[in-house]
């Protein structure tokens, strides 16, 4: 038997005396990703007319085709659209999912359920692909939601109940970034108070919103600062207005111009910075490593798999002999198979018996027929025998008579010549 040495748990550090060249490894990895392209999926939750589509347009500097939704939808629906964007050599497949009819119904009890269902469906699709036998994960178009932009109406008071409930049910499934929409309706002082109120309400109710990561030194400071600015107060606009000697995106009012990209006016730049330039990769990773894993774990446990069995023996989906569920299923199937076999045997025996009975019946009939025919044949034979006998007797009688006649003839011929001739003629005549 060959001896297999395990790697040492603490591999030793080596110093190299020259340039090897594997520092290009991240570049190799990145090149690969560039070749494949990136996926990013945003879910926008907010009531109709709060400015979701406009904000997305502004964020990505493009006019995505979006029709205005009506306010009269009977239930909340989700509408997803995928776009391919390209910037220098990076190709991004952006999917924007909008909630249609959110907050419009009179009875809003079922409002958040479709959203949760949609998110779960994306996880489910990925899980199905992962569990397939023949799978193509590296080519898979990832449709899982990476970030949820939650649009809070700028009431200036506090979170609405619907918002609270929705965010609470979404926080374990997706990264939530809360935004204050249409922030140009709130004054600066009111805004500060509003933000603090919102954050404290979220904290009190235990809603886990997405925290920008502070573990990397290069981004820790800026992320930490941004964390304090949540929720971002945003204004979206694709219209350009002349300010000074530049054309900027802004909203023009009689009393002034709200510039979208002016940090004094709103937090749009911060949002763009955080969402796209700094943390897009982290959002994707969190979705995969945290939210998806949680979903997967729950789903698999629900389906009856477990990592540890009843006697604390480690189980595995792979080891058939050890795993209880597999054994149980095997027994079940084996039993069922036996049963089905028995059934088939019974059925077969039954059919054979029936067929045999039919065949026997036919046999009997044929036999009867044969007997009957035989009998008839016998009778005919006997009749014919009878006839033959009669015929034979007659022929014997005839030959006897003929013999006696011949004898008489010869006698009378010798006794008298002509009288015999006369007699003979007469006899001949009689005979004829």
């Amino acid at each position: 038997m060959a001896a297999f040495d395990e790697k040492k748990d603490h591999p030793r550090s080596l110093t190299m005396c020259g340039h090897v060249g594997f520092e290009s490894l991240p570049d190799q990895l990145v090149d690969r990703s560039i070749q494949q392209g990136f996926c990013f999926n945003i879910l926008c939750v907010g009531e109709t007319g709060i400015g979701k589509s406009t904000l997305i347009n502004t964020l990505f500097n493009t006019n995505f085709e979006e029709l205005e939704s009506s306010h009269f939808c009977p239930c909340v629906r989700l509408r997803a659209q995928t776009y391919e964007l390209q910037e220098s050599n990076v190709r991004l497949k952006l999917t924007v999912v909008n909630t249609v009819g959110f907050g419009d119904q009179i009875n809003k009890e079922e409002s958040y359920q479709p959203i949760i269902d949609y998110i779960d469906d994306q996880f489910e699709a990925y899980l199905q692909e992962e569990l397939k036998i023949k799978r193509t994960l590296f080519n898979y178009h990832d449709s899982r939601i990476h970030v949820c932009l939650y649009f809070i109406a700028p009431t200036g008071h506090s979170l609405r109940t619907l918002d609270l409930i929705t965010m609470k049910s979404l926080d374990s499934k997706v990264n939530i970034i809360p935004l204050i929409a249409k922030a140009d309706t709130i004054s600066k002082s009111e805004l500060q108070k509003f933000k603090m109120k919102l954050m404290s309400e979220l904290v009190i109710n235990g809603v886990q919103i997405y925290q920008f990561p502070t573990d990397d030194e290069t981004t820790a400071k800026i992320n930490g600062a941004m964390n304090g600015h949540l929720p971002f107060a945003v204004v979206g606009s694709m219209d350009e207005v002349q300010v000074g000697n530049k054309m900027v995106k802004a909203r023009q009012y009689p009393w002034g111009i709200v510039q979208v990209e002016n940090e004094n006016h709103c937090d749009f730049v911060k949002l763009r910075e955080m969402l796209i330039c700094t943390n897009m990769e982290d959002l994707r990773e969190q979705t995969h490593a945290r939210h998806y894993e949680l979903y997967r774990r729950c789903k698999l446990e629900e389906m009856g798999f477990a990592d540890v069995g009843p006697e604390n023996k480690p189980l595995s989906m792979l080891a058939p002999g050890l795993q209880e569920t597999y054994e149980a299923k095997r027994h079940e199937f084996y039993g069922e198979r036996q049963r089905k076999e028995e059934e088939m045997k019974q059925m077969f025996v039954q059919r054979v018996k029936e067929k045999e009975a039919i065949l026997k019946e036919a046999e009997r009939e044929l036999q009867a027929k044969f007997e009957h025919l035989k009998r008839i044949h016998q009778e005919e034979r006997m009749k014919l025998e009878e006839k033959r006998r009669i015929l034979e007797e007659e022929s014997i009688a005839f030959s006897k008579k003929k013999a006696t006649c011949d004898l008489f003839q010869s006698q009378s011929f010798m006794a008298e010549g002509s009288s015999i001739k006369k007699d003979r003629d007469r006899k001949n005549f009689n005979f004829m």
């Binding site: 080596l14 060249g21 594997f22 190799q28 990703s33 964020l59 493009t62 699709a125 569990l131 036998i133």
Partner: protein, 373 residues
């Protein structure tokens, strides 16, 4: 949800997974293409930087296996590749020490860092390969080891609560050392590569290439390539995995110059005022990194500087997936109903056949002579 692994579905549209009462999520299959109409810089391309930073933090794993008869310079070559004492050379090997009776597998891990990139390098040595008198099936322990690593990874992947980063011990690359006979491949070489080219990326190298002249080298290489092709052995980079034309042309060039004829050395000498790695002989100094002398630099660039990530990806996306698919299939990954039906069908047919045989040997149809007429 029924218990058991979900059935292997063919590609179903997203909407089919959602039961009817729920509103169907409309994910259109064809994305709308809006390109280069971006009215300004957004910053999407910063994702490259973000990704790079993340990967540098997590570090990389790389597992390389060296296979070849002893004395072909495997350890020296690995040391030269990674410019450090990665393997302890067997030159100090005492003759009194036992020659391993079967092939042993020795895996030693190291951590090396360059330019901020941390790499966990594992070198898997196979002493005893091809050294016995009877070398039949000496590739089996190697194949077993490779499959065991796949199994380990699969087990981790299949766990309910799984680790954030599954430790990757799978063999990404196998350097196979060909003896520089100048004639052709040996039967052992062919057998080994035939068996293992399906489970791992094999890169054949011609060892101790300083024993051949330039003409001998090119002839030998051509012959080796031809033999490999005739025997249907696909070494890395495999033709079937070329994704597009660009890949194909690039890889074709590499395939044309493989197997690389290499010389390894970890000693430095002074040549033309520079210190270079080389081998000193009475007739001159063979510079390891000089492309006129040997192809070591090509091998190094190929394996480390350009195709390292690709080696890992082919291992993960193709070899590992093949192993996984086979493993799950053998285990009844098939949906249970189909299996039951199949077995029933088989057993049912057998039974019917048996019974029919019995019936046909019964008494003839009529029990008396047929009537003559």
């Amino acid at each position: 949800m029924s218990k058991g692994l979900p059935e292997a579905r063919t590609d179903t549209a997203m909407s089919e997974l959602v039961p009817e009462p729920r509103p169907k999520p409309a994910v259109p299959m064809k994305p709308v293409s809006i390109n280069s109409n971006l009215l300004g810089y957004i910053g999407i391309d910063t994702i490259i930087e973000q990704m790079r930073k993340k990967t540098m933090k997590t570090g990389f794993d790389f597992n390389i296996m060296v296979v070849g008869q002893s004395g072909l310079g495997k350890s020296t070559l690995v040391n030269t590749l990674f410019k450090s004492q990665v393997s302890r050379k067997a030159s100090s090997w005492n003759r009194e020490e036992k020659i391993p009776k079967t092939v042993e597998i020795k895996a030693i891990g190291h951590v090396i860092e360059e330019g901020g990139v941390k790499m966990k390098l594992t070198v898997i040595d196979t002493p005893g390969f091809g050294d016995q008198i009877n070398n039949e099936n000496c590739w089996e322990p190697i194949e077993k080891y490779i499959n065991e690593q796949y199994e380990k990874f699969l087990k981790e992947e299949v766990n309910i609560a799984r680790k954030k980063r599954i430790p990757d011990t799978r063999v990404h690359c196998c350097l196979y050392f060909i003896s520089p006979t100048g004639h052709s491949l040996r039967p052992l070489d062919l057998e080994f590569m035939k068996h293992l080219s399906k489970v791992v990326n094999i890169i054949p190298v011609i060892a101790k290439a300083d024993t051949m002249t330039l003409e001998e080298k090119s002839e030998f290489k051509q012959r080796v390539r031809k033999e490999l092709e005739v025997n249907g052995i696909e070494f890395y980079p495999q033709k079937e995995f070329d994704e597009d034309l660009e890949d194909k042309t690039e890889n074709d060039k590499i395939r044309e110059s493989m197997p690389f004829a290499v010389v390894g050395s970890d000693k430095e000498y002074q040549v033309n005022g520079k210190r270079v790695l080389g081998r000193k002989t009475p007739w001159g100094i063979i510079e390891v990194e000089n492309l006129h002398h040997c192809e070591f630099a090509l091998l190094r660039d190929f394996v480390i500087r350009t195709h390292l990530q690709d080696l890992k990806e082919v291992t993960h996306n193709i070899h590992y997936e093949t192993y996984r698919a086979k493993r799950l299939n053998d285990n009844g990954g098939l949906p249970p109903n189909k299996k039951l039906c199949a077995s029933l069908k088989r057993s049912g047919e057998g039974f019917i056949l048996k019974c029919w045989e019995q019936v046909s040997h019964r008494q003839p149809f009529l029990s008396s002579d047929p009537p003559t007429n």
